[in-house]
Amino acid sequence: MLSNKEAKKQIIKAMRQIFPTTLPCKVQEARTSILSHMGMERDDFGLFPSGKFKFDSHCSEAVKTLKATGEMSTNGWTWIWEGSQPQPIQPIQMVVQPIEDVLDLDSLLDVELEYKAPSLYNLKDEETLIRLVAITPCFGKVVQSDNVCQGCPLFELCLEKKGEVNQAKKEARDAKKEALNIASQAGYNLKGIKIPKSARLHEAIEIRSQCQVNCVVSGEAILKDELAYHIPSWGMVKKVIAEAYKAMQ
C-alpha cells in the first residue's frame, strides 16, 4: 500500500494529467476519473480506523494544494481547472497504401448473422418468464416486420404463441364449418342464427322432453319423449342442432 505522502503525490500528478480536459465536473465524477486514470480502486489507498476511505481525504488534500497554486478552484461541489490547457495534439498523417485483397468479403456475407436482443431478464427462469409475459399486454400479437417487436426479448416466444393462437383459430373455423355442414345436411341453416351472449352452450344437457315444446333455433316442435337438448339461458333445441353447436365449441 502507498504511504500517505506518496498517494497524495500520485493523485496530484493524475489530476494535472486529466483535469485540464475533464473539469469542470462534480466531486464524485472527478474522483472516479482519477481512480480510473490510475487504474486503482478506492480501497487500494487504505481505510481510516473509522472505516472511511483514505482516498477521499487524499483527494481533498490534493485539491487544497492545487488551489494554493492557483491551478484549481472549486464552486460548491464542482471542481474547476484554472491551470494551463493541454497543447492541441497534431493530427497524425496517415499514408494509405494499396494492399492485396486478402480478406474475402464474400465469405463474410455468407455467414448468417443472427441478432439477438440483449435481455435484462433471464428467460430461462420460468418464474421470470411468467411474470414478463403477464406484464406484456401485447404478448401473442407480434408483427414480424415491426422493429419494436424484433427488439423485444419475448420475440420468439411471442411468435410461437401467435402461431398457436392462429392454429387454434383455424381449427375452430374448420370445426364450425364442418358443424354447419352437418346441420345443413340435416336441413338446418345455422349461419344466420344469433346466439345470445348469455347462452351456456358448453352446459347443454340432453333430456327426454316431458311435453311438447318448440326448438328455440328452428321453431319446430320437439315432441313429447323426443330426445333434445336444453341449452341453459337459451332454450330447448333439436338434437342435431345442439350437436352442431357442441362441435363448434
Partner: protein
C-alpha cells in the same frame, strides 16, 4: 319475442324438463314476469332477453313511483334518509300526509309492511324507492284484511301475536282507524297482554294479530 311469449316459452321449457310449470309467486306486484321466479327463467330461456325485460320493468316502476312521490301520494314507497337511528334506513309506504304542526313541507306517516314498524317524518327526510317485488300486493292485502276483519276484533276478545304466538292477551278497544290519520291507514286495536313481558299493552294493526277462539 314479446314478454308474454317469453313467459309462455319459459313455462313450456320448464315443463319439458321437469314436468311442471315454473313456480309463480302470488305476490307479483311490480314483478316483470307476474311472479315467475326470475332465476329459473334466466336458466330456462334467453338470459339476455330476461335481463332486458327486468331492466325495462324496473325503469317503468321507477317512473310510476317517482310521479307518486312528486305529489306525496298515499301508498308511495319511500325510504327514510334522515332522523334518529330507529327511523333512518326504514323502508315503507306513505300511509298519510298532512301539514306539520310547525315548519314547512309535509309530515308523513310511514308504515313498513314487512316489519310492521311505523314512524312520522318530514318529507324532506325521505326519498322515493322502487318497491320490492310483491311488496305492494302485500300492502293491498293488509288493507283488505284489516277492512274485512275489523268487525271481529272487538273489546274483550282474546288474541295472540302472530310473530310470537306464546303472547296472548285481550282487546281493550274495538278495532278502528287511527283518528289522527283522517280515515287513512289500517284498522288497529289496543291489546293488553296476559304475560309480564314488556310492553304489557300496545296498539297493533289487525294483520299482526290472530283471534283466539
Amino acid at each position: 319475442m314479446t314478454k308474454k311469449e317469453l313467459m309462455k316459452y319459459a313455462h313450456s321449457v320448464h315443463e319439458a324438463i321437469n314436468g311442471k310449470l315454473i313456480d309463480v309467486s302470488s305476490y307479483s306486484s311490480d314483478h316483470p314476469f307476474e311472479g315467475m321466479d326470475i332465476d329459473t327463467m334466466m336458466d330456462m330461456v334467453n338470459g339476455d332477453l330476461v335481463k332486458k325485460f327486468v331492466k325495462d320493468n324496473d325503469k317503468e316502476v321507477k317512473d310510476i313511483v317517482s310521479q307518486m312521490y312528486a305529489t306525496l301520494a298515499i301508498n308511495t314507497p319511500i325510504k327514510v334518509t334522515k332522523g334518529s337511528k330507529d327511523k333512518r334506513g326504514m323502508e315503507g309506504f306513505i300511509i298519510h300526509a298532512q301539514e306539520p304542526i310547525q315548519g314547512s313541507g309535509k309530515a308523513l306517516f310511514i308504515y313498513d309492511i314487512i316489519n310492521n314498524k311505523s314512524c312520522i317524518v318530514r318529507d324532506s327526510a325521505t326519498k322515493v324507492r322502487i318497491p320490492n317485488y310483491g311488496e305492494r300486493t302485500r300492502l293491498w292485502e293488509t288493507y283488505q284484511e284489516c277492512k274485512q276483519q275489523h268487525p271481529y276484533f272487538t273489546t274483550g276478545n282474546e288474541v295472540e301475536l302472530k310473530a310470537d304466538t306464546s303472547r296472548k292477551g285481550f282487546i281493550v278497544s274495538d278495532a278502528k282507524l287511527d283518528p289522527n290519520l283522517n280515515g287513512n291507514g289500517f284498522y288497529q286495536c289496543q291489546v293488553q297482554w296476559n304475560d309480564h313481558q314488556s310492553p304489557q299493552n300496545g296498539t297493533y294493526i289487525l294483520t299482526e294479530l290472530n283471534l283466539v277462539k
